[in-house]
């Protein structure tokens, strides 16, 4: 085995180890977290609860210390963690600081290129530490199935440019399962209602 193959094996090993890290928030492992565990940890970190509706909670996190962080939304499906998402202020300086901190803690991220002609699905490693960043959604693959996603282009109609910066801790499998279940329930309710109103339209 020559030195190139040895180096490639080492890189693969290191990458695997980094990507296999547990995704945590307030020192709670999100993959196995319960709503009460995360709630207590958030309160201990300085988050202030604002709204609660079922498994959906919103906190004011301006005192947590994360640069520019304003709100934190947490969603559980029963006792299963689905997603936690920070939203941030429109401040380029704090955004730059946040990206540098993300790169320092989680290492290099990747961006999935969405050029439909040539680069669809290909990955690109952006420089998150650049002062001006506009490279799409940066992702880190953590202990499966957890993912960390940083985006500057989350749609929000209440913002000046209809976009905001978010940092999402997500279990994609749980998220898609909840979406699918809700969609099916909505379609079923629509069918029942259409039967109820069949004479009206």
């Amino acid at each position: 085995m020559n030195w190139k193959a040895l180096l490639a094996s080492f890189v693969v090993f290191v990458t695997t180890q980094v990507s296999a890290a547990e995704l945590t928030l307030f020192d709670v492992e999100l993959r196995t977290a319960t709503p009460e565990q995360l709630h207590r940890a958030a309160l201990a970190a300085g988050a202030r609860p604002l709204i609660r509706s079922g498994g959906h909670r919103i906190y004011d996190v301006t005192k947590v210390g994360l640069p520019g962080a304003r709100r934190l939304e947490v969603l559980f499906d029963g006792e299963r963690f689905v997603i936690a998402a920070y939203t941030f202020d429109d401040d380029s300086r704090s955004d730059h600081e946040l990206r540098r901190l993300l790169a320092a803690k989680y290492g290099p991220a990747y961006v999935i290129l969405k050029d439909l002609v040539r680069n669809d699905g290909q990955r690109y490693e952006p420089d998150l530490t650049a002062r001006h960043y506009d490279m799409g959604d940066a992702r880190w693959d953590m202990e499966p199935p957890m993912q960390l996603v940083y985006t500057q282009h989350a749609f929000n109609p209440t913002k000046a440019w209809h976009e905001e910066v978010r940092l999402s801790y997500v279990n994609p499998i749980a998220f898609e399962a909840l979406e699918k279940r809700l969609r099916a329930a909505g379609q079923q309710a629509d069918k029942a209602r259409a039967v109820q109103l069949r004479r009206s339209f």
Binding site: S53, G54, H56, E73, L75, I83, A85, D137, Q147, V149, T151, A154, F155, N156, R166, L167, S168, V170, P172, F175, L178, E179, L182, R183, A185, G186, A189, D190, R193, Q196, L197
Partner: protein, 169 residues
């Protein structure tokens, strides 16, 4: 009077040069009797001939007099108005005390009295009857499905998921 001028007889009388003299009232003597006057030779005790003037015109001296009177009147009026608008004299101790009492009374809390809305018995019975009638109509009316089930269940959760999807798409 006619004098020869270069051999021509020229009439140099005032009537010939200037024209006929204007009509003048007959001069009256101090005793009121009309004096006999020979044209061209006024008598020494006759009044001076009045100057010719347009009817209704004011003599310059009279105009100046009127203007001066108007100016003096305007000044007097201005002074009077200014004097009436000037600050009143300093209030006496009694006046100050009475003003203080009035201010204190105006700043005192106004007692709130609950408005008395007294319904006439006939009116009250009428509204009660109307309420009963509307309740009966509502009871007979079938439940409105748009009010009870306007959206599918978990609509809020679906909207939340849709919003959160924007951060991970």
């Amino acid at each position: 009077m006619q004098r020869p001028l270069y051999g021509l007889a020229v009439d140099l009388t005032p009537e010939a040069v200037i024209g006929p003299a204007p009509l003048r009232p007959a001069p009256v003597a101090a005793n009121g009797a009309p004096t006999v006057q020979v044209q061209g030779a006024p008598s020494p005790n006759a009044a001076p001939a009045p100057t010719q003037q347009l009817q209704g015109a004011v003599r310059p001296s009279s105009a100046r007099l009127v203007a001066a009177a108007v100016a003096v009147g305007a000044m007097a009026w201005t002074i009077l108005m200014a004097a009436s608008r000037s600050d009143p004299p300093p209030a006496t101790a009694a006046q100050t005390a009475s003003v203080g009492k009035a201010v204190a009374a105006s700043q005192a809390p106004i007692p709130v009295v609950a408005p008395r809305v007294a319904k006439a018995p006939a009116q009250a019975s009428k509204s009660a009857a109307a309420n009963k009638a509307s309740a009966a109509i509502a009871a007979r009316r079938p439940a409105d499905p748009f009010e009870s089930r306007a959206e599918p269940p978990d609509a809020d959760l679906a909207a939340t998921l849709e919003r959160l999807r924007e951060g991970i798409k």
